[in-house]
């Protein structure tokens, strides 16, 4: 449970996070929601005003106990402009007593081997981002914390990054990604943490948010011709059928929570209609997050 305040302004408020091990967790929120402040607290760069936390079983107040197992890219790649890529990494391997062999290894992983001797200032934004990832990978981390890792990457670079992060997760690395590219988060993350104005708005599986947000069920009968009759039956039983053109639709959308699905199935069965499909209506993550934060602000 972490709180960070600057004067009278509370940036992070009683935030309690649990990041599942060996999964990719998306950390999202509006600009200024407190994402980077939270990451900085996890990395020991700033001290919580109150509260406590543990990373890899070690208290946040002792970052040296766990940071040797953590790789991080915070607020974009930052390196010395006139040092080469390999020398920028050498600064970090030397200060952390990491084998210099890792420099070649991580440069190869991110595809910068050919540019190892070039100065950082000559790099494109995407190459700088890849060098930032290389620096994060130097300690062969157990936890990888990445703040906007796809910034500046072209579509191929984003796809490569996705595959790379998935391969780390498959090896058991815990990955925490902060990003505003929700479509990217949706593709890559299994777990999600949403914060809004410094408060926890949601944490749990990705589908938990996208399904919870809709509270709608998609129903499809075995024969499309039955949809009109089925819609009328549901309406007669008091359910709201959202689909307007019920006679010619491929599916019916019913305003009901996931737990109502068995009842809808039972009703269809008693009317001798076989359902081919009944599932929660998933919404885009972006819509789900907007909906979530809007509701949270309305309630507060």
């Amino acid at each position: 449970m972490l709180t960070k305040a600057y004067g009278t302004r509370t940036v992070v408020n009683d935030l309690t996070l649990s990041i599942p091990v060996g999964q990719i967790t998306g950390f999202i929120g509006h600009n200024g929601a407190g994402k980077t402040t939270t990451l900085r607290m996890l990395l020991g760069l700033i001290t919580p005003t109150s509260g406590w936390g543990k990373v890899l079983g070690h208290d946040l107040s002792r970052p040296s106990a766990y940071l040797h197992k953590v790789g991080a890219l915070i607020e974009g790649p930052a390196f010395h402009p006139t040092l080469s890529a390999s020398n920028n990494l050498r600064v970090l391997t030397t200060i952390a007593n990491i084998s210099e062999h890792r420099i070649e290894e991580v440069l190869e992983i991110v595809g910068l081997t050919d540019r190892a001797g070039d100065k950082f200032k000559s790099f494109s934004l995407g190459m700088k981002q890849r060098l930032g990832l290389a620096a994060a990978l130097l300690p062969d981390p157990t936890i990888l914390i990445l703040d906007e890792p796809t910034n500046g990457l072209d579509p191929q670079g984003i796809a490569d990054m996705r595959i790379l992060l998935q391969s780390f997760a498959a090896r058991g690395t815990t990955v925490l990604i902060s990003s505003h590219l929700l479509a990217e988060i949706e593709q890559i993350c299994q777990h999600l943490v949403v914060i809004d104005e410094g408060n926890l708005a949601y944490q749990g599986p990705l589908h938990g948010l996208t399904e919870r947000s809709s509270e709608q069920l998609i129903v499809a009968a075995e024969h499309v011709i039955d949809h009109g009759r089925l819609a009328r039956i549901y309406r007669d039983r008091g359910y709201e059928v959202i689909t307007s053109d019920i006679e010619y639709c491929e599916t019916l959308t019913i305003a009901a929570a996931r737990c109502i699905a068995p009842q809808l199935n039972r009703i269809a069965a008693t009317e001798n209609i076989v359902l081919a499909r009944i599932e929660p209506h998933t919404v885009r993550l972006e819509d789900a997050v907007l909906d979530l934060t809007h509701k949270r602000r309305s309630n507060s």
Partner: protein, 269 residues
């Protein structure tokens, strides 16, 4: 602390840094050495607490004394100090402005040893620059003396060599003092331009102005770090032990303050 020191040398060994500071130091040393030969007068460096007021001697006669090979150094210790101050302020403050400090702290979270190692590497660099300046000054003196009919017999005597050694040690102490000023300003201000601006202003003007104001109340301006540093380079200064101790106290104080602020302050940029 050793890993941090070695890491700093990766940055300090950049060709631009080595050539830049090396040439600046050589230029300053050559300038200081040449001034007595050009103007035909010699002077001391401004004096520490026990020294007499600055003296000017007509002609080049004093250059034939046993300390003739290093008399020029005393006149440029401040300028050399400025070179070191700029190097240190850039090295420390750029970690803030480039955003590289957070990378270093993630890989080496013990802040006191991180800055300690960094300052250690910079102190070694400052020492190297002082010795380099001494070598250049002595070599230039040996080159210029025959051209100006200056006798150099005394320079190679035991006392002459001792004078060179004393001046070199004084220059090292002076450089360390300016390095500590640069480090403290860089940590406090977190911006190289501001740190360098204030540091240079202090070294070249500020201390004299403040010193004269303080002296109106009590005669203590000679104990300010710049005066002490200049005094140590001047081999005729009689108060070397007290000056050395006082300057060491300033350096330790500035360094301790820099490490304290660095350790306590949050890295939020």
């Amino acid at each position: 602390m050793i890993p941090s020191l070695r890491s700093e040398f990766v940055k300090l060994s950049r060709r631009g840094v080595v050539v830049g500071t090396g040439c600046a130091t050589a230029g300053v040393a050559l300038l200081g050495t040449a001034i007595p030969y050009i103007t035909g007068t010699t002077s001391d460096g401004g004096g520490g607490p026990m020294s007499s007021a600055s003296t000017t001697e007509p002609g080049l006669a004093s250059l034939s004394n046993d300390d003739g090979a290093i008399q020029g150094i005393a006149t440029i210790s401040k300028l050399l100090g400025v070179v070191v101050l700029v190097l240190v302020a850039l090295s420390v403050a750029n970690e803030y402005t480039h955003g590289t400090l957070k990378n270093l702290l993630v890989r080496h979270p013990k802040r006191a040893t991180l800055l300690g190692g960094k300052l250690g590497a910079l102190a070694i660099s400052a020492t190297t620059l002082a010795l380099w300046a001494t070598v250049i000054a002595v070599a230039a003196s040996f080159a210029l003396a025959p051209l100006n009919d200056v006798h150099i017999a005394q320079w190679t005597t035991a006392s002459g060599i001792a004078s060179i050694g004393t001046a070199a040690i004084g220059l090292v102490a002076s450089n360390l003092a300016y390095a500590s000023i640069g480090a403290l300003l860089a940590v406090l201000l977190r911006a190289p331009a501001t740190a360098i601006g204030i540091g240079v202003a202090w070294a070249l003007l500020g201390e004299q102005l403040i010193g004269s104001l303080i002296d109106a109340v009590a005669d203590v301006s000679a104990w300010l770090p710049g005066s002490l540093a200049s005094g140590l380079v001047d081999t005729s200064d009689l108060g070397r032990i007290s000056s050395s101790l006082a300057l060491a106290a300033w350096v330790a104080g500035f360094t301790a303050m820099a490490i304290f602020v660095f350790s306590q302050r949050e890295v939020d940029a």
